[in-house]
Symmetry: C2
């Protein structure tokens, strides 16, 4: 039997999914499992998107243009305009989720062995895309004590070497919910100019900002128009993860022409998803007002309850729908597995994502977990109560 | 401005798309362009698929399981059963078209620098997926004189070296339409056993067999169950290219576990497409009878008319909906561009795919073109008449 590849061996299992067999077993044993581990919102997809499918008026479900349906890309430009971002359809390649956009960017911009700096903790799947391309992630640590703010410029400069080709950020951040300030983006701008790096930015949570805070896009950083590559997606925005419609966006002509060759090789992004996503442009502003209000309530519930638990540190993030919290535990992988295997409170338990999977520095995140607040407030209250009881009983508790 | 990657520079432009700017110009100039260059069928998508969207009854368009919706994978097993292929849902990962399945297989099974043997001409996009993974294609030539039959075993053995890890075939073949016989598959089986290679097979045109010929799947080759990886797609089968639903199928547990990690990194295949594809399982057998009859008529039209043209050699393929034909021309890239730029017959012209893009041996395919017979018989008649007139006038004609 021929051997599988070294990359295949290197690929990590998803921290969100590796505990699934344990949660399945807990459910089979009759326990209720609250899923705080996943990024699948429970919010209803806008009716306009479902209606677009109900009213589908085509005879053949054809390939779209490899860069995406032109009218959809035009409508995206209007959407970005409303967020003070000026782009034209030529700056956009529609992709199968932001995932494919990241893959195209890494393949188009970096050689095997090149290095990309990412503040950690970071979205675990970035590992998959960099391993695919043979690219090396150089993590620099964001500290929970400073709520996971951007590391200081000196940390970037320590990590930059002759192989450094890009910096990647997620803003608002998954898994920390941290929203970068204008000043922090200015720091990034200066480093990018000084070392002539690509700046990759994942802004799929753009709308999800709380407490009156405003999102600032890397697309508006002056003087680095040729360096910036943006990843976007309608998945979280419209609670429509299953349409698999994202985008790679850049004003760098060479990057776009190169990414386009990768896009042509896979022929087309999903057509049905694009038709739904174009229809989503008709979503009234009130949809977001309500959704943001709902998420804010959820965040407040989680953060308030978490910080009341003895030994827990839970920053109060300004964006996205995640918190990364420090728990008084020995090992978050063991703890999260124990929650599913050996614990119940009133026949209920919680599924969390161990933060170890969001760090690439070995040993980091062992006392942290990511919580997605994608359940309603009552379920969240029950979940955090469960977690509190679990921390009281967990044999690996550290005080 | 930072430089793009070496892979990006190496990526070829799609042979199907590189002439698009010229066809756009021809259309703007008021000429009718017959598109024989693309693999987008004009056949109506089964009503069951469109109806599934009309009747969509969900509130949230969620991620599916990373391996695909379980009920869809179960229905796929029944479909394969009806084609005498025994697989279980665990042998299937649903992908964004066959494209993504090929990418996962190459990444999971081959290291950068490893070699894969592919009979040429071959589907041009295989280049993109192998370049992405840093894998080297070793082509062995199929001859037009033998209608593009599988090269003899001696040719494979000449190409096999210490870096050879896999053989890849497309059956029925794109771009030649060639359908491999049981004897030819037996040759592949023996080589695969002797050298312990992976055998990748793209069988997306399985249904499209003519003149009473039967498709034989690599999944039924005895003794190489752990070596075989199958790529499949509903795109051509149901004329539903835009749903982006394919599959990677293998009985090799290690390959599946590894591919699954790549599948998890991109989260989910398109959910709407999968719902449509599952509904397609209700397509009556009469759909295929009619479709196959229609394609057979088209093939007969093209092959008969082509072989009447002076200096043309056009094999009569038994499968898929492509022919690769030899023309009395100096350079197929030049000729195909000339057709769009400088030629018209009755204000009409044809767009063909130069075969050079389907060969990786430099200079091969310079007097060949691929024709997709995805237009109705009348349009095909007009197209081939156009081509005949063009060949009479083309300045680079070679006799």
């Amino acid at each position: 039997m021929p051997k599988i590849s070294d990359k295949g061996l290197m690929m990590p299992e998803s921290p969100i999914r590796k505990l699934v067999p344990f949660s399945e077993r807990a459910k089979k044993a009759g326990r209720k499992v609250y899923h705080l581990n996943i990024g699948q919102p429970d919010i209803a997809t806008p009716a306009s998107m479902i209606d677009a499918m109900h009213n589908l008026d085509i005879k053949v479900i054809e390939y779209s243009h490899s860069a995406g349906i032109h009218s959809y890309r035009e409508s995206m430009c209007l959407y970005y305009k409303s967020h003070n971002i000026d782009v034209s359809p030529e700056d956009i390649i529609v992709t199968a989720g932001a995932s494919e956009a990241i893959l195209f960017a890494v393949q188009s911009c970096l050689n095997p062995g090149d290095e990309i700096i990412i503040p950690e903790p970071f979205y675990a799947n970035y590992n998959g895309f960099t391993i695919s391309a043979g690219v090396v992630v150089k993590p620099i640590i964001s500290n929970i004590e400073s709520s996971f703010a951007l590391p200081p410029i000196s940390e970037f400069e320590k990590a930059i070497g002759p192989k450094t080709k890009a910096i990647m950020v997620c803003n608002p951040n998954n898994p920390t919910g941290y929203l970068y300030s204008e000043e922090e983006l200015e720091v990034l701008r200066q480093i990018v100019i000084k070392y002539d790096l690509f700046l990759f930015a994942d802004e799929v949570y753009r709308e999800f900002c709380y407490d009156g805070n405003v999102h600032h896009s890397v697309m508006n950083l002056a003087g680095i128009e040729e360096n910036v590559v943006l990843f976007d997606s309608v998945s979280k925005r419209y609670s429509a993860c299953g349409v698999r419609v994202g985008a790679l966006i850049s004003r760098n002509r060479e990057v776009m022409a190169t990414a386009m060759k990768f896009a042509q090789a896979r022929l087309s992004p999903p057509s049905l998803g694009q038709i739904a996503a174009e229809a989503a442009m008709a979503t009234p502003a009130s949809y977001f007002v309500e959704v943001i209000q709902e998420y804010k309530k959820r965040r407040d519930t989680v953060v308030t309850m978490m910080n009341k638990i003895d030994g827990v540190l839970c920053p109060n993030p300004k964006g996205a729908f995640y918190v990364t919290a420090r728990l008084p535990i020995d090992d978050s992988d063991k703890f999260c597995q124990w929650l599913l295997e050996d614990f119940n409170y009133d026949n209920q338990t919680v599924m969390l994502a161990p933060a170890t999977g969001f760090y690439s520095t070995p040993g980091a995140g062992k006392n942290e977990v990511r919580i997605s607040y994608v359940l309603n407030v009552t379920d969240l209250q029950n979940s955090i109560l469960c977690l509190q009881k679990a921390l009281e009983q967990y044999p690996g508790r550290i005080l």
